[in-house]
């Protein structure tokens, strides 16, 4: 209770300081909350950007496709590397080394290859989501107690049964963590892609508002995008909690 009050107080102080600083400084540059709120209302009433719904939909669709591909490819590669020891030993370290490269270095190539439309954003969102999912699958398989597999085999379980009854439950927690991180990163990938260069989507609107120095609209667009980000993460965390209950 007291913690909640303290947190509310922190938020209030930050907003107030922002308001004062913005008024003293440049309201255009610092966009006080008193200017951001009307801009957000205009945005939501489709006055400032009537095409907001279409663009929101485009971004959401890019995220869904990118993440779907990342999950499929990440699970496939992760299981392949985890279940076949030689593959894992050879390609696991190579993947980990690639993970040490800041992913954004691939973006210009993707833009060159896929153009400025949705495909390059999907490709980038896919790339960012793919790594954590693959690595979590690998880690999950490695943490399953080999003793359990042996016991299941001794009881005459066939490989498919071992997979479903022993492997998946044993690794679920780690796997779900990776799926959640993957989603967050797919979202980041799509948004980064859009802001670095796009014709449509929330990133394009943000760039438009920024280019015309419509800073209050820019803040409103950022807020709406953040709501999308928070909503996806909340959904993922709900699933994660479900999974935790299954494993226990």
């Amino acid at each position: 209770m007291r913690v909640a009050l303290a947190r509310a107080a922190i938020v209030a102080v930050v907003l107030l300081a922002w308001e004062i600083a913005a008024r003293v400084g440049s309201p255009l540059l610092y966009v006080p909350p008193s200017a951001a709120v009307p801009a957000l209302r205009d945005l939501l009433l489709l006055r400032s950007y009537p095409d907001l719904p279409e663009n929101l939909l485009i971004t959401t669709r890019e995220i869904v496709v990118a993440y779907g591909l990342a999950v499929a490819a990440g699970l496939a590669v992760g299981f392949a590397l985890g279940l076949y020891r030689t593959l894992g030993r050879v390609y696991g370290p190579m993947l980990a080394a690639l993970y040490a490269v800041p992913a954004v270095v691939w973006y210009p190539s993707l833009m060159l290859f896929f153009g400025l439309d949705a495909a390059s954003k999907i490709a980038f969102g896919f790339l960012l989501g793919f790594f954590p999912i693959t690595l979590a699958t690998l880690a999950g398989i490695r943490q399953v107690n080999p003793q359990l597999v042996t016991v299941a085999r001794a009881f005459g379980a066939r490989p498919a049964t071992v997979f479903v009854k022993v492997l998946v439950p044993g690794m679920l927690f780690t796997l779900v963590g990776g799926l959640r991180t993957g989603l967050a990163l797919s979202v980041v990938g799509v948004i980064v892609g859009e802001i670095l260069g796009s014709k449509a989507g929330m990133g394009a609107l943000i760039n438009h508002a920024y280019g015309l120095l419509r800073t209050a609209d820019y803040v409103a667009l950022v807020v709406v995008t953040l709501v999308v980000v928070v909503a996806t993460d909340a959904a993922a965390s709900l699933l994660e909690r479900r999974a935790r209950r299954w494993t226990e």
């Binding site: 020891r85 030689t86 030993r89 050879v90 080394a97 490269v101 954004v104 270095v105 760039n207 993460d233």
Partner: protein
């Protein structure tokens, strides 16, 4: 059956060679458009022409990254020490820290550029923003998880608060700090490259953006390979330092 180390390295090299050869073959046969995916030989041939420019741009980027990195580590470790020690304060502000850590920072990039212009400053600020949070979060956890018993032991030997930090907490968190530094350097480099791509006048990010916009695929691929190699080299270097410093583990 587990393959030996020599065989693993051999298979890794062979895989790379096979991919490069297949790629070369496909490109020569005209199955992929050389405008978008140049043959490896074309990329190699572009290295002399692009080399000097790319190395200069990389140096520029790495210099900004170094400043952002130093700031991230110093500020991140300091914040981690404060947050890890002050538990009530930490539990109060934790949601904010996590929210700021998880937020796609690209959303505030246009605003940063608006405030700071197109020079070096936004790259350093944005790079620091990327590096700071993972370092701060990891160090906070490490300070919080320092074995309480070791602190009790040190107090029983008369350690004063400053000595608790110097003799127990700081040495105990060294491995976490190094892990954070390893993670942080990639984040800082990423942040700097993003700013350069978005608004850079100089540096590797803007050079790569220019190559992409000019459809200069061989040069772009060469530049990408150069940045990747530099990044991997930096991380491997930090790993070596880590091994040296945590022999006691």
């Amino acid at each position: 059956m587990t393959p030996g180390r020599a065989r693993v390295v051999g298979l890794q090299l062979a895989s790379v060679l096979v991919v490069v050869a297949a790629w070369e073959g496909l490109a020569r046969a005209g199955w992929v458009d050389a405008l978008f995916v140049p043959a490896p030989s074309a990329v190699a041939l572009s290295v002399p022409s692009v080399g000097r420019e790319a190395v200069a741009a990389l140096a520029d980027t790495l210099a900004k990254t170094a400043v952002a990195y130093a700031l991230s580590v110093v500020l991140g470790v300091a914040a981690g020490l404060v947050l890890g020690s002050a538990r009530v304060f930490e539990s109060t502000v934790r949601p904010f820290v996590i929210a700021l850590y998880g937020m796609p920072k690209i959303l505030v990039l246009p605003w940063i550029v608006l405030l700071l212009g197109y020079g070096t400053a936004p790259a350093i600020l944005y790079g620091t923003l990327h590096g700071f949070f993972p370092v701060a979060v990891l160090v906070t956890g490490a300070v919080r998880d320092v074995d309480r018993h070791l602190l009790t032991v040190a107090r029983s030997f008369g350690a004063r608060p400053l000595q608790l930090y110097l003799k127990v907490i700081l040495p105990a968190i060294v491995p976490s700090v190094i892990a954070a530094m390893r993670l942080g350097v990639v984040f800082c480099l990423l942040g700097v490259l993003v700013v350069e791509m978005f608004a850079g006048l100089r540096g590797m990010g803007s050079l790569m953006g220019a190559f992409a916009n000019g459809f200069r695929a061989p040069e772009l691929f060469a530049a990408t390979a150069l940045v990747s190699a530099a990044s991997i080299a930096i991380v491997l270097g930090l790993d070596a330092v880590n091994d040296r410093l945590s022999r006691w583990r």
